[in-house]
């Protein structure tokens, strides 16, 4: 078993037009900039992107939005300062947007990865974001029923990986990467360092069973 790939292009090769792609990261940390650049190069379009943010400036997800590759964004916070490409595409009506409270986004992704059919959460009850959703009062508190959120692919950023696909992370670059690994049919991680030795089993954050391929991209942005 050896999940190591030789380059970023090989890692994104399976992604097809119209795919649902989760992309890890929060703000500027934990974003797989190398894989996103390779995906831009590769050319797949009509993508649904699931991520916390929608890119900033001319980097990361913003490059996919600029190039018109994204049909829909599912995220909690598209309005990072400098999200000009998201704003342009949104104002022009060129992309669909589903805004999800951040914890519900993480939990919907986890539910998909954990094989659950949905969950009741108090988050968002009584707000615009619960409109059209099933609600229920549980122990006197209003709850919203939320569905699992799965993807065809996940593009992840990690610190180290071994040939089994076990991942460790660095500081707050962990964020959405572990849950997205669980929820995608095919999860690919760019890592700062591929390790010839197995990671310490006590220190594995994402076990390799959730990761289909790893590739080294040594740059820490």
């Amino acid at each position: 078993m050896d999940k190591r790939l030789p380059d970023l292009a090989a890692a994104v090769a399976p992604i097809t037009d119209g795919a649902v792609v989760m992309i890890g990261g929060f703000g500027s940390s934990g974003i797989p900039f190398g894989l996103i650049a390779a995906l831009l190069e590769q050319g797949a379009s009509g993508l649904t992107v699931i991520s916390n943010n929608a890119g900033a400036g001319e980097t990361g997800i913003a490059t996919l939005l600029k190039a018109g590759r994204v049909a829909k964004v599912i995220c909690s916070y598209p309005r990072t300062p400098g999200s000009i490409w998201f704003e342009r595409r949104f104002e022009a009506g060129e992309i669909a947007l589903e805004v999800v409270p951040q914890g519900t986004l993480a939990e919907r992704i986890r539910a998909a990865g954990a094989g659950l059919g949905g969950f009741f959460t108090p988050t968002g009850y009584g707000t615009l974001l619960a409109q059209g959703k099933e609600t229920r009062i549980i122990d006197g508190v209003g709850h919203v029923l939320e569905a699992p959120l799965r993807a065809d692919f996940a593009l992840l950023r990690a610190e180290r990986a071994d040939r089994w696909g076990n991942l460790s992370f660095h500081a707050t670059a962990r964020n959405f990467n572990p849950v997205m690994a669980m929820a995608a049919r095919h999860a690919v991680a760019e890592v700062r360092q591929l390790s010839d030795e197995p990671l310490d089993p006590e220190q594995v954050v994402t076990p390799g069973i959730f990761v289909q391929a790893v590739v080294e991209y040594g740059v820490r942005p």
Partner: protein, 215 residues
């Protein structure tokens, strides 16, 4: 009217954070509260992007680009800190493990409703972040904001007009002009910024302010 500076307001909020609390500081001005924590208190700051034990801004040149807070500022980690992923981070928030959250607001209603994520401008894309999770899970929600909008219109109202973040969730509001509690009867004065009168502050507030507690 005496209006507290942002720093003075942050210091006023910090005075009310007890020793040993787990605290989430919302993006923007609330992040400054930690700089004003009185000496001798140990408070653990949570940031929803996956850290307990947020420390001060690092010295220039020593930033770690992968160590940031929810405002996307470079931070440090204090001794006793822990890193974790997003589902665990929001379990801390939604599950009632964090003691206090300090949030900004567009509007707060006298029934404790909070509006802090969307305006009525339909061209502006909505962005909710983690505020809705904080308000349902954290038992004490402190709001820190200017008392009025730039045009002088009130942000403290009988009912919010902007889309809600949460229903009946606010415990206390700290503004540049006063500190108010949300009670079953409505806003109740805790204190006035020294130099202000209740009638002056009432005139800038869109709902009645109840008599202060006897002191």
């Amino acid at each position: 009217m005496i209006s507290l500076s942002d720093n003075a307001l942050a210091a006023r909020v910090a005075r009310d954070i007890p020793d040993g609390s787990y605290v989430n500081l919302g993006i923007g001005k609330p992040t400054h509260v930690s700089a004003f924590l009185p000496e001798g208190r140990e408070v653990i700051y949570h940031s929803e992007n996956g850290i307990l034990g947020v420390g001060p801004t690092p010295p220039a040149g020593q930033e770690d680009v992968e160590l940031i807070d929810a405002s996307k500022r470079f931070v440090t980690a204090v001794p006793g800190a822990a890193y974790f992923e997003h589902a665990d981070s929001f379990a801390m928030m939604r599950g009632g493990h964090i003691d206090i959250a300090v949030l900004g607001a567009y509007q707060v209603a006298e029934n404790g409703d909070l509006a802090n994520w969307a305006t009525l401008d339909e061209k502006y894309p909505p962005a909710v972040g983690g505020a809705m999770d904080l308000v349902v899970g954290v038992p004490t929600i402190l709001v820190m904001m200017r008392h009025v909008n730039r045009d002088g219109s009130p942000k403290l109202l009988r009912r919010c007009t902007f889309p809600l973040t949460g229903l009946g969730v606010v415990s206390r509001i700290y503004t540049d002009l006063a500190v108010l509690d949300v009670t079953p009867e409505g806003f109740r004065l805790v204190e006035l910024t020294p130099g202000n009168s209740l009638s002056e502050v009432q005139a800038l507030t869109g709902a009645p302010i109840l008599h202060p507690m006897p002191t």
